[in-house]
Symmetry: C2
Subunit: 97 residues, 2 copies
């Protein structure tokens, strides 16, 4: 059963460009390396320019776990620590159908 | 520029099966008829079985508008009125990258 993820990230004022560059590099690597990732797309709120939401889906919970253990994900997390304004909120959901 | 959507639906106790059937029929029609729909997947919360979230993405805002005007979407909305416990919460987001 697939799992969905909504990751909400609050970014410090003035750090948007740096964040977007780091995240889009990560997204490219995810799509290139993770056959078990069905969807992985960055979005920004229409009401708060410092709030981003990543909509994700993985074929299985194992694929999500593998995602979190990749070198490039860990490296991106390290780089993002200097631009986030709060700890990311990650909601994991079970797909239906 | 693509647009993302997170639609949150609260379903009345005992109406889950009816809701899921109606919604999955809708999702099938969306995927079959809307080339501008990049992603359209139903998920359920891991903490509240009455809370569902649809993760969606459309190639353009026009594609999202067209989605809302289809006969089958309007028909499904009508059918869902009897199973929802509250008005759906729909957050529209701008994609990045």
């Amino acid at each position: 059963m697939a799992v969905g993820v909504i990751a909400t990230l609050k970014i410090q004022e003035g750090k948007n460009a740096e964040f977007e560059k780091t995240f889009l590099d990560l997204a490219e690597k995810v799509r290139a390396n993770e056959g078990g990732c069905n969807f992985y797309e960055l979005h920004v709120s229409k009401t708060d320019p410092q709030e981003y939401k990543v909509l994700e889906q993985y074929a299985t919970a194992e694929d999500l776990a593998k995602h979190g253990q990749t070198d490039y994900f860990k490296a991106a997390n390290g780089a993002l620590a200097s631009v986030v304004a709060a700890a990311p909120q990650v909601e994991v959901l079970d797909s239906v159908g």
